[in-house]
């Protein structure tokens, strides 16, 4: 290999996290459907080793797959099928909107989001899966690397895209989804890395709510088409509970630039925030649960290792820790496999 992916990702992946990934694998609870062989359980019979089923011989079947013992029992020619093992297509849709810039240093939301996406991509590339990604920010999308591809160059491209992007404006989710959805391979793993706080900002609250509902429906549509959809929701603790207190005068600016500035006393502004946020959060959680979407909330100040291990566990089929997920606490530490 020309370039060591570990070093290429050093900018966005902390070495500690890389150490953690060593010897771990990205596995999915559900079978995949890849173009080529891989190490994921495929949704169709293939050239694996595990017995899958017997079926009646039809002309054209490879006679080497005839199961003689089954023929003896059934008194007709039977074909022995084995589980297929396919490669996985991981498609990451990364939010580079202004809201992801919130937080200082290690607690920046984008930093946590990029690290987690890069870690997943790193795992996938390392185990031979293909990775595609698209980003949206400043009102535009970048879908150049949407088609999944394997190998270190793709990882480097991802690292480049996430290393120091200009985090500003809004992420046009509908456009991003519209670009990505037709080009997704079958049964892809779609990772949506965003805070999902205000994905479709609009000056008019009703229009924003309607657009968001449509977006949620789109996520559900992806899931309905057989993709695994993971909403990797990265939140800053301040967004869970704003820290402003007392009579301080604040001007709240929408980082996406769509909503009007808000001025007021800290205490007055804060009033009702948690309730509204919680209602929104629960609605999203219900929607995801109802449509089989993985919703993983990650606190940007939580240890990334915990978040990553929790993510891997959820993908490999661990049950969602209902309360914790809703509370946004760090995911429980679980072995990936």
């Amino acid at each position: 290999m020309a370039t060591d992916p570990d070093r290429a990702l050093a900018a966005i992946l902390p070495p500690a996290l890389l150490d953690l990934l060593r010897g771990r694998a990205l596995t999915l609870a559900r079978p995949v459907w890849g173009q080529r062989g891989g190490r994921h359980r495929a949704a169709r019979a293939g050239l694996g080793h595990l017995f899958r089923a017997h079926r009646a011989y039809v002309p054209g079947d490879d006679p080497r797959h005839l199961d003689w013992r089954a023929m003896a029992r059934r008194d007709r020619p039977m074909i022995r099928q084995t589980e297929g093992e396919d490669e996985l297509s991981l498609v990451a849709l990364v939010d580079l909107a202004g809201g992801m810039a919130y937080g200082e240093g290690a607690t920046q939301k984008h930093r946590a989001s990029a690290a987690l996406v890069a870690a997943l991509a790193h795992l996938a590339i390392r185990q031979g899966d293909r990775v595609g990604f698209a980003t949206g920010g400043d009102g535009a999308i970048d879908a150049a690397h949407l088609r999944p591809a394997g190998g270190v160059p793709r990882l480097l491209a991802l690292a480049e895209a996430l290393a120091a992007p200009p985090l500003r404006g809004a992420c046009p989710w509908p456009a991003l989804l519209a670009a990505a959805a037709p080009r997704l391979p079958r049964r892809a793993l779609v990772v949506v890395a965003s805070d999902l706080l205000d994905p479709c900002p609009d000056a008019a609250p009703e229009a924003a709510d309607a657009a968001e509902a449509e977006l949620w429906a789109s996520f559900a549509g992806l899931r309905a088409r057989g993709h695994d959809v993971v909403l990797l929701r990265v939140l800053h603790p301040d967004e869970l509970d704003p820290p402003w207190r007392g009579g301080e005068l604040l001007r709240i600016v929408d980082p996406q630039g769509a909503r009007a500035d808000l001025e007021g006393m800290a205490a007055a502004l804060r009033e009702g925030y948690r309730a509204r946020f919680q209602a929104h959060r629960e609605a999203l959680a219900r929607h995801c649960e109802g449509h089989g979407i993985h919703l993983l909330e990650v606190r940007s100040d939580a240890p990334l290792a915990d978040a990553l291990l929790g993510l891997l566990a959820r993908l490999s089929g661990a049950p969602a820790p209902l309360d914790d997920a809703l509370l946004g606490a760090p995911q429980p530490r679980q072995a990936g496999r």
Binding site: D198, P242, E248, V253, A268, Y273
Partner: protein, 718 residues
């Protein structure tokens, strides 16, 4: 505690400004780009204006800081009794020492002038570094010491002067020497000059001083206690305020009556009376003694009679307070003596020429003048030898005997007389030039042209014409001209009280005069319009006076006024005094004695010193060293000829000025300085700790702000 600049306290109003700014000021909100913006809702009205005080501690500190600065700027001080008022910056300090006689007042701590040296030393010690010290006394006998960096020079000079004895009588006023103090030595204009006047609080002492003069600050330093405290009552002392004599022919042809006024100076207390024993000494021999009780703060008259038994000529007499046995010594002994030349036969010969006689006495031109001169008192009348003449009698006598006819006339009064004939006028001119006094009063018979032609050379100003006085011609009740206050600086009226008693007088007709500055008339009395009423002029050795209204009631009611008597007698005495030959003159110490006599004059002082007087360019011989009270003789003729002229010596006495005996303190304003200057020591400055407190408040404010900023930073950091 008081404030040097209390007006600056207005600055405290400024305290409201930060408060107002704090409350009214728009707070700059902290801007946060927050992704959860959509979950935030504006609740109600957003008020960016503070509705209540925030950061109370910080605000209080800042207000305190401002208040401290304002209060410090207004410079609070506390008065310090013990300390002296000294300018708090390097300057030229001039010690102006009161040399008036009242400084000799003895208190419990000795005479007042002894306290001068400690006061001067205290000032010298309190002067800021770099100051220079000079010395000056209101008595010119103390040679001025120019300001020098060595304060000992001035202090030594003062010490030597004090060791030489008490204050010299001389009627010194501190204010008279203030201009000299302002210009003493080389004056550096950039350097402040402060005159420290050390003296008592009498009229001639500190009370005579203006607050400042000629950009020189004056700081009074009272030797009788701090200025801001009411002075203790000075000890009562006795003095002889005045002494006169007159012949007493009803007792004996050679008897003299001596009147004196004794005063007990000090706080008035009619209940308390001091016994005074007064002795009359003639030629050192005690003739008689009299006892008088003087109320404290009041006066008592004394009358003695003496008969000059065999003596001829004037006698040197002294009235002296004698210490009664057991009585305390007088606190101010310098005024316990009064000197007189007693002469039983001195007369002023006055000839009155009546131009308008009348059989009705009240209509007679000279009725009022003669009465006034006669009413002077029995003794005074004896000293005036009055003779009445009609104008034709005068002319006849003059034509008969020439100048000899007027040889025995000291003062000639021409009252409303027609202008004398040319030959008589020439004799008059000759006599006046030789020393006779001439008083012209006008009336209907006075013709301006004739007077100007024949006596114009003598007249103080040429006559123009008689006019009706007043501003409303034709309105008789409004016609009339009032009199302005008399010019008491005129030698004839010097020493009179401020109101001569003429203020109500009105003149209906007055004589206008031709202005002529070259004649240099001296104006004693004017009308309220400014036109001269009574004016005098020196002519040769004699004097001429001119009254521009009638001396009877025809033209004015002047003779009806009480002031007419002193005016008439003073004028007569002034005109007659010019001859310098009759009677003895009484001078105050320091008052010069002058004479126009042509022969050589030698003054013999009381201590026996002989001083030959030289005539100046105008022929005036002047004796100025009259600082020694006592009897002076002026011998006529050149003693080197071995043969005196034989003429009787001229006599005069010098007595202390009774006004200097007044020791009651006057209120003195505490020293004030213009501008930013501060008085050190007198008032202890209290603003320096305030400045320190302000600095501390500033430090606390900075610390608090720093802490707040850190806290704010920590709060904004997620």
């Amino acid at each position: 505690m008081s404030l040097l600049a209390p007006l600056l306290l207005v600055g405290l109003i400024g305290l409201g400004l930060p408060l107002l700014a704090h409350l009214r000021g728009r707070e700059e909100p902290r801007t946060i780009a927050f992704a959860g913006r959509r979950f935030l809702a504006a609740r109600g009205e957003v008020l960016s204006q503070r509705r209540r005080l925030r950061d109370r501690l910080l605000l209080a500190l800042r207000l305190l800081l401002l208040a401290l600065v304002v209060v410090a700027l207004s410079r609070p001080v506390t008065r310090h009794d013990a300390a002296l008022a000294v300018l708090g910056e390097p300057h030229d300090a001039i010690l102006l020492v009161d040399g008036s006689r009242s400084m000799g007042l003895r208190g419990d701590d000795g005479p007042l002038f002894a306290a001068t040296a400690p006061a001067a030393e205290a000032i010298a010690a309190a002067l800021p570094a770099g100051s220079r010290l000079g010395l000056l006394s209101s008595d010119p006998a103390l040679a001025p010491v120019e300001p020098s960096a060595d304060p000992q020079a001035a202090l030594r000079a003062l010490e030597e002067r004090l060791e030489a004895g008490g204050p010299r009588p001389g009627s010194w006023r501190l204010s008279d020497r203030l201009p000299a103090a302002a210009t003493l030595g080389d004056r550096d204009r950039g350097r402040p000059r402060v005159v420290y006047a050390i003296g008592d609080r009498t009229a001639g002492g500190l009370a005579s001083l203006p607050p400042s003069a000629d950009d020189v600050a004056v700081i009074p330093v009272a030797v009788d206690g701090p200025l801001d405290a009411p002075a203790d009552d000075p000890p009562t002392h006795l003095g002889i305020a005045a002494a006169t004599w007159e012949p007493a022919p009803e007792i004996d042809p050679r008897a003299l009556r001596i009147r004196a006024e004794l005063r007990a100076y000090g706080p008035a207390d009619p209940e308390r009376r001091r016994r005074a024993l007064v002795a009359l000494r003639i030629g050192g021999e005690t003739i008689t003694q009299a006892e008088v009780e003087v109320p404290a703060g009041g006066a008592a008259p004394l009358e003695l009679t003496y008969t000059a038994a065999g003596e001829r000529g004037p006698l040197p007499a002294t009235l002296e307070l004698v210490e009664a046995a057991g009585a305390p010594a007088d606190a101010l002994p310098s005024d316990d003596r009064r000197h007189l030349w007693l002469a039983a036969d001195a007369r002023l010969r006055v000839t009155l020429v009546n131009g308008d006689p009348s059989e009705v006495r009240a209509h007679d031109e000279l009725f009022f003048l003669a009465t006034a001169l006669a009413e002077r008192g029995a003794g005074e009348r004896e000293r005036l030898a009055l003779r009445n003449l009609a104008p034709d009698q005068l002319e006849g006598a003059v034509r008969e005997a020439g100048a000899a006819a007027l040889a025995d006339v000291d003062v000639l009064v021409l009252a409303n007389a027609a202008a004398p004939a040319e030959d008589v006028a020439a004799v008059l001119r000759e006599r006046v030039e030789a020393g006779m006094g001439l008083w012209l009063t006008v009336g209907e018979r006075v013709d301006a042209d004739a007077y100007n032609e024949r006596l114009g050379e003598l007249l103080p100003l040429l006559l123009r014409e008689p006019v009706l006085a007043g501003t409303a011609p034709g309105r008789s009740e409004a016609a009339g001209e009032g009199f302005a206050p008399a010019n008491l600086d005129h030698p004839a009226l010097r020493g009179q009280s401020s109101d001569l008693g003429l203020l109500g007088a009105r003149a209906r007709r007055i004589f206008l005069l031709e202005p002529d500055p070259s004649r240099a008339p001296e104006i004693a009395l004017t009308y309220s319009s400014g036109a001269p009423t009574l004016l005098t002029r020196d002519y040769g050795r004699g004097r001429v006076a001119l009254l521009t209204t009638s001396i009877d009631r025809d033209w004015s009611d002047l003779p009806l006024r009480p002031g007419f008597v002193p005016l008439a007698t003073r004028t007569i005495a002034f005109l007659g005094d010019r001859a310098g030959e009759i009677g003895a003159r009484d001078l105050s110490v320091g008052q010069p004695w002058t004479s126009r006599l042509p022969e050589a004059l030698t003054v013999v002082t009381p201590s026996g010193r002989r001083v030959a007087l030289a005539a100046d360019d105008d022929g005036v011989r002047r004796f100025t060293d009259t600082f020694e009270p006592g009897h002076y003789r002026v011998e006529r003729g050149d003693p080197s000829d071995g043969e005196a002229s034989g003429a009787a010596p001229l006599l005069f006495t010098v007595n202390v000025d009774p006004s200097e005996s007044e020791t009651l303190p006057r209120p003195i304003a505490p020293p004030t300085l213009a501008g930013d200057r501060v008085l050190a020591a007198a008032s202890v400055p209290r603003w320096r700790p305030l400045v320190g407190l302000a600095a501390l408040a500033l430090l606390l404010e900075s610390l608090l702000r720093l802490r707040r900023r850190r806290r704010a930073l920590a709060a904004s950091r997620p």
